[in-house]
């Protein structure tokens, strides 16, 4: 039992870690939110690589969950969702101007992680006003559903049971208790974990029915060291998901970029995202992808199959209607050949947050917007032929201008120095625009 004596309590959607455990600090969380009517299936993933007995996760949930409402999922599904929806690069090759585009793609960097997990012991909790509503072992996790009357009681109970609660958490717990939320607390059951033989923690999934369409992030910001990163994959029937209490904007997309970005795409993506966060004063949620999941154009990865979507919790799908997934590297299919819509719309949201800029939990709404959107960046390869027609001469002049525009685009998107970009592109700075003569200079020209 002493093995469980000091788990660090991690709050869902960010997490706080005690000072001793900063080595465990993972800055990114991934969440899949499946939602239709008032039904929600929430999948929480993490890539925690530390000592498994060292952490625990607490998630405020609207209802007491029964055993059947909790499931342990497959991380590969979230990786697939990530790859499918990540910002992408597209390449075009200029054709001979004297006498145009096919494209291939590479895909973006994928985000990272989250943490999950928890630990507790059943104690005489009644005196503290804490009720253990239920406890289960699901997969490699020991799970408790707690309700409490007082945050102080809950805090004492958690501390007594070996959880480190950061200063400041009490008031947040208190407000959740008053809203009649329950607490889902999970830790790793080492025996089960060893028996199952998984090297990484698998995502925890919970299904519940509640009008609340939100993600609790406040616990995670209480004691956080710096900002945190959160990726939300919302799967819905009607259309795009957006926040109702924060601005939701689309990432800049469709720009032409210098060719060398191909080898530095993850760097570009990180820098570009940071720059956009800065531009919006870190108070905005970004839409990175919004698409019907039955197809993609271009595809950064195959669309998810009906089975995969069902495993992620999409409960309205009919298993017999599995459409043929589109293949990667495809170009747009003729409409007749496009797979039937699965009636699942994916919105990928990305937010960098801290307590100062995101004081309240994220609240969402599903809109009727089915407009497709993707973060897509374009590389255009020049035509290097030697033809000498008039069109070729014109093309070469335009090419120089285009290269400069690409450098400017990249500088604008990422905040990188345009001089550095030019030198990486091996292009010269454009000649300085001559200052127009002043009116008096135009009078006396001698």
């Amino acid at each position: 039992m002493c093995a469980w004596s000091h788990p660090t309590l991690l709050a869902f959607c960010g997490f706080y870690v005690s000072k001793a455990d900063t080595r465990l600090f993972n800055k990114a969380s991934q969440v899949v939110l499946v939602r239709s009517d008032d039904r929600t299936v929430l999948t929480m993933a993490n890539d925690f690589k530390g000592d498994l007995k060292e952490f625990a996760v607490v998630v405020p949930v609207p209802t007491v969950l029964q055993r059947g409402q909790i499931h342990v999922g497959n991380k590969a599904l979230i990786d697939h969702l990530d790859a499918y929806s990540a910002p992408r690069l597209v390449e075009y090759f200029d054709e001979n101007p004297c006498a145009r585009p096919l494209y291939e793609l590479s895909r973006a960097a994928t985000p990272a992680a989250m943490r999950a997990d928890a630990a507790l012991e059943r104690n005489a909790a009644k005196s503290l006003g804490v009720t253990i509503e239920a406890q289960y072992t699901v997969g490699e996790y020991d799970i408790l559903i707690l309700s409490a009357q007082q945050s102080s009681g809950l805090e004492i109970w958690l501390r007594d049971n070996g959880y480190r609660i950061p200063a400041g958490a009490s008031s947040v717990l208190s407000s959740y208790i008053k809203q009649n939320l329950k607490f889902f607390v999970a830790k790793v059951n080492l025996k089960e974990q060893a028996k199952l033989g998984f090297s990484m923690l698998r995502p925890i999934q919970v299904a519940y029915e509640s009008p609340k369409f939100m993600l609790p992030i406040r616990l995670g910001t209480v004691n956080a060291d710096g900002t945190q990163e959160l990726f939300i994959y919302a799967l819905t029937q009607r259309g795009r998901v957006e926040a109702t209490n924060y601005r939701t904007v689309k990432l800049p997309t469709g720009m032409d970029l210098p060719l060398y970005v191909k080898d530095r795409f993850p760097d570009f993506y990180r820098a570009m995202f940071s720059q956009q966060v800065k531009k919006e004063n870190m108070s905005t949620i970004f839409t990175e992808y919004a698409w019907d999941t039955s197809w993609c154009d271009p595809c950064a990865a195959d669309p998810l199959s009906t089975e995969e979507l069902q495993q992620l919790g999409v409960f309205w799908l009919n298993p017999s209607s599995d459409p043929t997934p589109a293949r990667a590297n495809q170009t747009r299919l003729p409409v007749a050949l496009q797979p039937r819509p699965q009636n699942v719309f994916l919105t990928r949201l990305h937010v960098r947050y801290d307590g100062a800029h995101f004081p309240e939990d994220l609240v969402f709404q599903e809109t009727a917007d089915r407009t497709n959107f993707q973060g897509r960046y374009v590389l255009r390869h020049a035509w290097n032929g030697t033809d000498t027609c008039a069109a070729a001469a014109r093309y070469r002049v335009e090419l120089t201008q285009r290269r400069e525009l690409e450098a400017q685009n990249l500088a604008l998107l990422t905040g990188w120095s345009v001089t550095d970009i030019r030198s990486a592109m091996k292009i010269a700075s454009p000649p300085a625009t001559p200052t127009p003569a002043t009116w008096w200079q135009r009078i006396w020209r001698d």
Partner: protein, 303 residues
């Protein structure tokens, strides 16, 4: 003569729309905005000069409705945007009780569109800059136009802020949470341009304050008890149904754009006539109940 507050409102809304389209990524296309504005004006024209021919064509209210629709309503369908504008302005001429329209047109149009499921409102799409600029413009508007019916706006804001702050205090939340919730451009638009509509709010000041309280409680309930979005809009639409009753219990002089006034309480028995667009539909004379309950009498004295 005092300036017509609608001119100021049109200027503020138009500037806000231009800013929203260019800087805030409002999910409304220029084509959609032009279509909604044109349709709103055209509907107003047809209803006043065309087949109804009731009165002179006055584009100002329709323009305000159209601009508000552009700022709040989102849909993928151009056809639906046009229908929304027709429903919005048309509702003024169709849904009337006692010679005046019942619903704030924009509110009605948006709620109907929300029910269709093909339109939505994005209450979070306002940056801080837009919020504070709009706040200044709205408060400035109160001063510049000395709007006769600012009482409903101010009392609504006071009640709603009280409820939002009160809930947070009860929950022990930091005050940054209710402050953040109230920093919504949609809330300002609602408070200064929708609920304040002098033609659809109760006629007397006590009536309007009671109305503001009802709308604030309803909005809070939808938002924080039912956990649904657009509580303000649903609540205003529902509470508008109580206006005839409030006017009966707490009567006042009906508002006319040409004769702005706070709608001081009328004697227990009063006859008044309507002008302008109400000429045709009004019965002209209305008698108010002569024996109001004690509480209402008290409220009248306060008003």
């Amino acid at each position: 003569m005092k300036p017509d507050p609608r001119h100021y409102q049109i200027a503020v809304l138009a500037a806000l729309l231009a800013y929203g389209l260019t800087r805030l990524d409002f999910e409304v296309t220029r084509v959609q905005a032009v279509a909604m504005l044109t349709t709103a004006l055209l509907t107003q024209y047809l209803c006043t000069r065309g087949f109804l021919a009731t009165s002179a064509f006055d584009p100002r209210s329709a323009l305000i409705s159209g601009l508000s629709l552009c700022l709040l309503l989102r849909t993928n369908s151009l056809e639906l945007a046009i229908v929304a504008a027709v429903v919005t302005v048309g509702s003024k001429f169709v849904i009337r009780i006692g010679g005046k329209h019942l619903f704030n047109p924009t509110n009605f149009g948006i709620v109907v569109m929300l029910i269709t499921g093909h339109a939505w409102v994005s209450p979070g799409q306002w940056g801080n800059v837009a919020f504070f600029a709009l706040l200044m413009a709205c408060l400035g508007g109160l001063v510049v136009t000395r709007a006769a019916r600012s009482d409903v706006t101010l009392s609504f804001l006071a009640f709603y802020m009280g409820l939002v702050f009160g809930r947070s205090l009860w929950l022990g939340e930091p005050m940054s949470i209710p402050s953040h919730r109230l920093q919504s451009g949609a809330l300002l638009l609602f408070s200064f341009f929708m609920i304040s509509d002098p033609r659809t709010t109760p006629d007397s000041r006590p009536g309007r304050i009671l109305f503001a309280l009802l709308v604030a409680c309803g909005a809070w309930y939808v938002q924080f008890r039912l956990f649904r979005t657009n509580g303000l809009l649903w609540s205003l639409a529902a509470c508008s149904l109580t206006v005839p009753l409030i006017n009966r219990l707490l009567p006042g002089r009906r508002y006319e754009w040409s004769r702005p006034g706070i709608g001081s309480l009328v004697p227990t028995e009063v006859a008044y006539e309507t002008t302008g667009s109400d000429r045709r539909s009004s019965r002209g004379v209305r008698v108010v109940a002569s024996h109001a309950p004690g509480l209402l009498r008290f409220l009248r004295i306060q008003g």
